[in-house]
Amino acid sequence: MHAPVPGHTHARALDSDGIPVITTSGLTKVYRSRGRDVTALDGVDLHVREGEVYGVIGQSGAGKSSLIRCVNLLERPTSGTVSVAGQDLTALAGRGPRAGKELRRARSRIGMVFQHFNLLSSRTVQDNVELPLEILGTSGRERSRKALELLDLVGLADKAKAYPAQLSGGQKQRVGIARALAGDPKVLLSDEATSALDPETTRSILQLLRDLNRQLGLTVLLITHEMDVVKSVCDSAALMEKGRIVESGTVSELLATPGSELAAALFPVGGEATGADRTVLDVTFHGEAATQPVISQLSRTYNIDISILGAAIDTVGGLQIGRMRIELPGRYEDNVVPIGFLREQGLQIDVVGQEPVLVKEGAK
């Protein structure tokens, strides 16, 4: 695996030590309202590697919105540092509440798309896309050339002269994306970009982000509360709770981590044990193991009856993955051998209702 070269095509699989494009360390944000302190971010360390799509997921109030807004310093962190593309933005920001020239210049190289699109209703689609270029001081002819090129890229070349009010939600977000790309950013921040859209449109917008990520080598940091978003486009993900990142890693690493909340949420399987003296296992298949008839082998080898409580096969972050919840007769102690057999087959086994300590050796 090679680290992606800037400006080159996207390398699909990422190794853990790719070049970090967005790094936050010890990021803390405390809001003061009426004498009370509300901690929105509590020491967040985030590392987004070049060329990946990184999803931060969490419930509302978990601090993900504060996090993404701290990345381009729309929100000033209380403490901690943010650096984007090797530039320490927190150092550029200075003390004052207003953004200095250097910070504004750095911001112009970070694209951002918003949940509510935030297009100027007084401007045509093309003029909206030209706005960042006007700010950069690009000449008129170059602006319109670039804007039309970007609109073509997002599939809206025919809407250049329309006003935002005449577009559907999905089209507005495409304009928002085209606008975000106008400054040739290396990094795109997506603040719940699909949350105001219907499922069908959400899919097409995510597909667009994915395509841009691949074609332009664009690094995307997105925040969302929808697991489906992470599932369909993200290479890496982080779970936020109460201002902290509680889990993070590449999607495949997460899926291979026993007891990972994110993995369970990414790929849920349901089903309750049918009795007290039963052992319930979550079996996760990926890669080679997915093609082996392990369950019937298990049943034949140990002569036990296996009930399948739930199962699903899905593509997560571009990987084929299967998960199954099965029930074996007898307690955990009685099933140590069959469980060992399953692990030998290269499957990841999580014993439901058992301490994660017991399954530690399965983490591989």
């Binding site: 911001r107 112009s108 100027l120 209703s121 401007r123 700010i135 935002p164 009010a165």
Partner: protein, 240 residues
């Protein structure tokens, strides 16, 4: 009668036109500044905000006739006289500035903060935000505010007329009230009614056509019952 009327009309027109121009030119930045300096604004400055706000409030609530008398020495300093149409423009403009500034403030405040944020995220500075977001996005409301200001200034100009400013108000008082020439007074009333309706109509039309182009992001300007039919999408694009 004819020359009397046409002279009065042109006096009123000149008073209102000049004072509107000055009120808009000064009230617009003042109104924008009121929003910017407010708590959480881009140029947050609580002291400046309070001072400007207070000046605007006092200016707005001062009865015009008192303002006019109070400003006499200032008027003399600016125009060299306190009598006549030119002299009347000074208190009219000064009365119009805070009036318009408050309306601007309300209009600009309605602009979605997300748009401001989007432009900040692009690297725009405060001036860019004012020029490319706040004013253009509030434009339909600003036009409606200008209409309101013009009509208010027509009202004030009649008062200015009674103390030597000339114009239609002066005509109505001198001929209609003091000389019992009722006919002339009614003609004055009719002219004013027509002019005010025309201004209101033109203002509404301009604001509305801009607004329906912009869709729901802008605040809806107050529409009058006069015109019941919504403009069709077709003539919207024509205007746009």
């Amino acid at each position: 009668m004819q020359p009397l009327l046409s002279q009065a009309c042109s006096e009123t027109f000149s008073m209102v036109a000049w004072s509107t121009l000055i009120a808009v030119a000064a009230g617009l930045p003042l109104g924008v500044l009121l929003v910017l300096t407010d708590r959480g604004g881009l140029l947050q400055n609580v002291v400046a905000n309070k001072v400007i706000g207070q000046v605007v409030n006092v200016g707005r609530s001062m009865p015009f006739i008192i303002l006019m008398v109070a400003l006499m020495s200032f008027t003399r300093w600016v125009t060299g006289t306190t009598i006549g149409t030119t002299a009347a423009i000074v208190p009219l403009a000064i009365g119009g500035i805070p009036f318009f500034a408050r309306l601007v403030e309300t209009a600009v405040r309605e602009v979605d903060n997300g748009l401001v944020e989007a432009v900040q995220a692009m690297g725009g500075n405060t001036w860019t935000i004012v020029r490319k977001v706040l004013v253009p996005e509030a434009l339909p409301s600003l036009i409606a505010s200008t209409t309101t200001t013009i009509i208010a200034l027509i009202g004030y100009s009649a008062m200015a007329g009674t103390v030597g400013g000339g114009g239609l108000g002066d005509l109505a008082v001198r001929y209609g009230y003091q000389r019992f020439e009722t006919q002339l007074m009614w003609i004055t009333v009719a002219i004013l009614a027509v002019v005010i309706s025309l201004i209101q109509f033109a203002g509404d039309f301009a604001a509305r056509s801009l607004h329906s182009r912009g869709g729901r992001s802008g605040p809806a300007p107050k529409l009058r019952a006069l015109k019941a039919k919504e403009p069709e999408a077709a003539d919207v694009t024509k205007v746009a």
